[in-house]
């Protein structure tokens, strides 16, 4: 399954594993350093970042063993993990073009007339290196050029560097370790939120529409797929020991945590736009909406095959639920499956009301930031509770339970059919690809899911970042046979 997801992710183009700039206000405008996980009394000086060099002793994390083997964490990261080269991409043509295009934006720092290069822009460094802003404190071994290093995820190490290998530390409960500033990357919810800081964005860093238009790839994070692609610097068996249903669990927790992070970012953006934030931000923020609703070459869809009318005819939506023409669809990526689960899954049903309120407030001709901030806040806290609950859930997502979830996904795809957009179809695919592993599937099922992934890949022509050939109702330029595929998958999943 990893192979399928990997291939798919590479294709999708949109889901680029590219390291990210954050579209954060320049450090000059920002007062407080970023809050890393772990307790810290107010007013306390933040701990030093010690640098990758402090982890890479041969006796510690640089044993130079095979990838993912214990004590070769640094070796794996340096040799295989693209995070180690995140800083280097700031020197390439694309980065130069992005900064040039953003020159007149308030997000970009300048020296006289000229913008600073990407490698000196806080906007970029926030995600392309271990960097939290001007107030960040570093040891003399720290080098920004190490890219996204150990402490980006595990926390600044000043307080635990010399403690964490001592006898007894390993056995401390997470809550105790956290007091030293060591982040609990073992928890799937925490892990997802760490990735999300850059791969979705947070209060201090984001890839907004300005940045994307300047040339930065769109972000579309999905924990399960990303983890399966990731060059782990820990044994896969340790994940599986903790969660015997790891693939399915990572997908499900990732869905919720991803949605939580996305809605949290929306809440922040809306607050800023409503004048409650320290800084102003663009509003409406286009990156919150489905990219391909606007970003597609226009063409004439035969008038007998209108997508909305088809969906009404099929009984999939009521006329009253059709968005007003010209408004933008919200939550096409992070909320696609959550919306479906809220309608169909017991654990999610408490989400429904708040979620629908939020979506409705975003899909209006006038998107009121104050209202959105309020609605997003409710959804965010609901999702955070749910993610925590799901990652602690004792009942495993294996066998029947995984199959039932997979059936929900495939059934949703079959029902939506022509009303599916690419984001929604891809999210269903990613879910199926993750769940099949624990659903103990037949070979036929695997082949169907693989073909679905290949089909979704094939609609991105060479040199395109949008699914130009994906069009379920126009004359089929690429016939994805979505309905048939979902039917087959359902058949192979059994009742």
């Amino acid at each position: 399954m990893r192979g399928i997801v990997a291939r798919f992710l590479v294709i999708a183009g949109a889901i680029s594993l590219v390291w990210i700039c954050s579209s954060q206000a320049p450090a000059a405008r920002r007062q407080e350093p970023e809050a890393l996980p772990g307790p810290r009394a107010a007013g306390e000086v933040s701990p030093l970042y010690m640098g990758v060099a402090s982890c890479s002793a041969v006796a510690c994390h640089h044993a130079n063993g095979p990838m993912s083997s214990p004590r070769s964490e640094y070796s794996t990261w340096a040799g295989h993990d693209k995070h180690a080269r995140a800083y280097q991409v700031l020197f390439d043509d694309r980065s130069e073009r992005i900064v040039r295009n953003l020159t007149d934006s308030g997000e970009i720092l300048r020296k006289g007339e000229k913008p600073l290069p990407a490698r000196e822009q806080p906007l970029c460094l926030k995600c392309h290196a271990t960097y939290t802003g001007e107030t960040m404190r570093t040891s003399d071994r720290f080098q920004i050029s190490d890219g996204v290093g150990c402490e980006s995820c595990h926390g600044s190490a000043e307080n635990w560097l010399t403690t964490h290998y001592q006898a007894g530390f390993k056995d401390l409960p997470q809550s105790e370790k956290a007091k030293f500033g060591l982040v609990d990357t073992k928890s799937l919810h925490v892990r997802a939120k760490i990735c999300a800081r850059c791969h979705i964005g947070d209060e201090t860093r984001e890839v907004n529409h300005d940045l994307i238009a300047a040339g930065h790839p769109r972000l579309s994070f999905e924990l399960g797929g990303y983890l399966s692609l990731y060059k782990r610097h820990w044994p896969e068996s340790s994940d599986r020991a903790r969660y015997p249903d790891f693939e399915a669990r990572a997908w499900l927790v990732g869905q919720v945590a991803g949605a939580e992070a996305a809605v949290e970012l929306l809440e922040h953006r809306a607050q800023c736009a409503a004048g409650k934030g320290k800084i102003s931000k663009p509003w409406p923020e286009f990156s919150e909406f489905g990219c391909y609703a606007c970003h597609k070459d226009l063409n004439v869809i035969p008038w007998g095959k209108n997508k909305a009318e088809e969906s009404i005819k099929e009984g999939y939506v009521k006329r009253s639920e059709i968005r007003r023409p010209g408004t933008l669809p919200y939550g096409t990526w992070y909320l696609a499956n959550i919306r479906m689960l809220a309608d169909n899954h017991d654990a999610f049903k408490d989400q429904k009301e708040a979620l629908n309120t939020l979506i409705q407030s975003m899909e209006q001709p006038s998107v009121s930031p104050a209202q959105v901030a309020q609605n997003a806040s409710r959804v965010r806290s609901n999702l955070a509770k749910l993610a925590e609950k799901l990652q602690q859930e004792k009942v495993l997502l294996k066998g029947d339970r995984a199959r039932a979830l997979a059936r929900l996904l495939a059934g949703d795809g079959e029902k939506k059919n022509v009303a599916l957009d690419w984001d929604g179809a891809a999210q269903i695919y990613l879910g199926l690809a993750a769940l099949q592993f624990d659903a103990d599937p037949s070979m036929d099922l695997k082949a169907d899911i693989r073909d679905l992934g290949r089909g979704l890949k094939s609609v991105f022509p060479k040199n395109y970042d949008s699914p130009r050939l994906f069009n379920p109702v126009a004359e089929p330029r690429v016939d994805l046979k979505l309905e048939d595929r979902f039917k087959n998958i359902l058949k192979h999943l059994g009742q």
């Binding site: 073009r97 040039r100 295009n101 953003l102 007149d104 934006s105 907004n208 529409h209 300005d210 940045l211 994307i212 238009a213 300047a214 040339g215 663009p282 509003w283 409406p284 286009f286 990219c291 609703a293 606007c294 970003h295 597609k296 070459d297 226009l298 063409n299 004439v300 869809i301 035969p302 008038w303 209108n306 997508k307 909305a308 009318e309 969906s311 999939y316 939506v317 006329r319 059709i322 007003r324 023409p325 010209g326 408004t327 669809p329 696609a336 899909e363 001709p365 006038s366 998107v367 009121s368 009303a419 599916l420 957009d421 929604g424 040199n463 395109y464 970042d465 949008s466 130009r468 109702v473």
Partner: protein, 630 residues
């Protein structure tokens, strides 16, 4: 899931015409002209097209002794087949019927929950598709909506001039445009008047309730193409001769009459129209921005049709004004550049290479933050060439200041701050008005036309520029239109250049830039002929229409005693509006018509998607090199 995709087509590429303000040569202040027209015409009545068939049906040539020219009368100025051409060839005549076609019904369903919503007043469609805003000009109007956009929409209310223009024993043409205006006739031979009138639908005019909103386009209305008045006129097709082909102006006309018809400079009529039209298109675009950004305007229901809810009584003025303020992003989409957002994400795309904002020759780049919608760029594209023609390149500075305010307003918030947008647009409108005063006075000759052509072909060449100038598709289309129009005038005087002719006739130039958008005209005409009962003479009429200014050819046809050319119009005038509309909407016809439009629109969209600015620039360089050769 609730997904409403964008879909586009054009049954009627766009509809048009209707009321506009205007008039008069010389300096004009447009905000006042609208009321001037309303005031001057308040006792006039609009009349249906059928009234014009009394005379404007059959061709009349120069030789009045020929047997077929039974009513020679005004045939030495007008072609006298205006009604016949309009009814059979011109999509304006189908502008109302199209609302009841498949696309219109779908739009009604999506916008208002029922298929005939587009026929209701509050939907805002009728102002362009059936001239319904005209009725406001006075009481007791006599328009037939089934006419679509007919004679009255452009020429004005005829109740006071119908008789004199027939019965004054040809003295009618001695009247000045001002005299005719007082009686209700619009001076369409004045380039500025004509361009402004056409633009009122083809670009939009909020004060006349003519706006294609973003919701309308999302529901299926085709995006309005960039507007170049001279080429649009030619493609309509023309139901009038070019001045230089008009028999009366070839010999008999006195200077005074020639002046009344703007015939003093008749060899460069189209060039002058193109020059003036370029500035008018820019001004009307800015006017749309200004009017729609005037959040405290007095007639909000006209200005912002998207704020009205289907089936509900229109909210009061205050409520609409506050809605407009909340829904500014949606309102602003209507005047924004469609293809800045609506394009597939090609990487690396020319937009990221070029950068965002206004990039105009001779002007420092005005950089927009990437990802921010901007006012349609195409309306600025011909301006540097017009300024160069006028020897007023320093005016670029004024343009720069105005566009800078627009850019800054958009950098401060997506879609711009309405107040700043309004102020910037207002300044640019005044600047354009000043420019038009100069242009109206300008006399043209071979040299100045050549100069304009040279400026047009080098519009995107600036050797020392850091980032190359790369025009978008719509700018390229405008540039190509202007070149085509001006070269036609120039070549008629200076002689043709085979190399240039070849480029202008090439598929890359003419087809890919959509200079002749009605590719399905023949098929569409066949449907009309079918409705008319396939009358005799259609082929002859087609031959005649190919060269409407060719007097000798017409005389030849007239010499043939039984020429079917002269029978054809009788069939066209015989059909009632109801029968004609029913015919257009008969199931087999309406399906075909929709498919033709879809096909035309799809071709255009494909050209847009595969457009390459570098290739277009190479073509311009090629043209420029040929132009310099004698």
């Amino acid at each position: 899931m609730k997904r409403v995709p964008n879909r586009w087509s054009s049954f009627v590429w766009s509809a048009l015409a209707g009321l506009a303000w205007v008039l008069g040569s010389g300096p004009v202040v447009f905000a006042q002209l609208n009321s001037k027209e309303a005031e001057a015409w308040k006792d006039c009545q609009y009349q249906p097209a059928m009234l014009c068939t009394r005379c404007h049906d059959k061709p009349k040539g120069g030789d009045v002794s020929l047997p077929n020219f039974t009513q020679q009368r005004a045939g030495d100025v007008a072609v006298m087949t205006e009604y016949t051409i309009w009814k059979t060839y011109d999509k304006h005549a189908q502008a109302y019927a199209v609302l009841k076609g498949p696309r219109g019904r779908l739009m009604g369903q999506l916008l208002g929950g029922k298929e005939d919503y587009v026929l209701s007043k509050e939907a805002g469609c009728l102002s362009c598709h059936a001239m319904q805003n005209l009725a406001k000009q006075g009481e007791g109007q006599n328009l037939d909506m089934l006419d679509g956009v007919s004679c009255a929409g452009c020429h004005g209310p005829s109740s006071k001039w119908l008789d004199p223009h027939i019965n004054a024993n040809l003295k009618w043409r001695d009247n000045t445009p001002e005299d005719k205006f007082k009686l209700g006739m619009r001076d369409l031979r004045n380039p500025e008047v004509r361009a402004t009138l056409c633009a009122s639908c083809h670009i939009g005019n909020a004060s006349e309730g003519k706006v294609v909103t973003h919701a309308m386009m999302a529901a299926g209305h085709p995006p309005l193409p960039p507007f170049e008045v001279a080429l649009f006129s030619r493609n309509e097709p023309q139901h009038w001769r070019n001045l230089k082909d008009i028999p009366y102006f070839k010999n008999k006309a006195s200077d005074k009459v020639a002046k009344n018809y703007y015939a003093e400079n008749k060899d460069f009529q189209q060039t002058k129209l193109a020059l003036i039209g370029t500035v008018v298109a820019f001004r009307e675009t800015m006017k749309l921005v200004r009017d729609r950004a005037t959040l405290d305007n007095a007639n909000p229901a006209d200005y912002w049709p998207e704020l009205l809810s289907p089936g509900e009584k229109a909210p009061d003025k205050d409520k609409l004004q506050s809605l407009a303020s909340n829904r500014w992003p949606e309102l602003a989409m209507a005047h924004s550049d469609c293809y800045a957002c609506h394009h597939d994400l090609k990487y690396p795309g020319f937009r990221q290479v070029r950068g965002f904002g206004y990039h105009i020759k001779g002007m420092d780049p005005l950089r927009l933050i990437p990802g921010r919608p901007a006012v349609r760029e195409w309306s600025t594209s011909g301006l540097p060439a017009v300024l160069a023609f006028l020897n007023k390149k320093d005016e670029l500075n004024t343009l720069h200041v105005g566009l800078k305010t627009l850019t800054q307003a958009s950098n401060n918030q997506p879609f711009g701050e309405p107040k700043a947008m309004k102020e910037a647009a207002d300044k640019l409108i005044k600047w354009a008005d000043g420019l038009l005063v100069e242009l109206n006075k300008a006399a043209l000759d071979e040299m100045s036309a050549l100069k304009f052509l040279q400026e047009l072909t080098t519009l995107y060449e600036e050797p020392n520029r850091k980032v190359p100038l790369l025009p978008g598709y719509e700018s390229a289309r405008i540039t190509a239109s202007l070149i085509d129009v001006v070269y036609t005038d120039y070549a008629a005087k200076a002689g043709k250049n085979a190399d240039i002719d070849k480029i202008l006739a090439s598929a890359d130039f003419k087809d890919r830039l959509d200079l002749m958008p009605y590719r399905k005209r023949t098929e569409r005409l066949n449907v009309v002929l079918k409705i008319l009962g396939n009358p005799p003479g259609a082929d002859e009429f087609r031959t005649y229409l190919k060269d409407i200014g060719n007097e000798a050819a017409l005389d030849d046809m007239a010499r043939k005693p039984m020429s079917k050319l002269f029978q054809f119009p009788s069939y066209v005038t015989a059909i009632s509006n109801q029968m004609f509309n029913d015919g257009l909407l008969a199931k087999e016809n309406v399906t075909d018509l929709q498919l033709y439009s879809d096909e035309e629109q799809n071709l255009l969209m494909n050209h847009l998607a595969t457009y390459d600015p570098e290739a277009f620039k190479r073509m311009l360089r090629d043209l420029a090199s040929k132009l310099t050769k004698p």
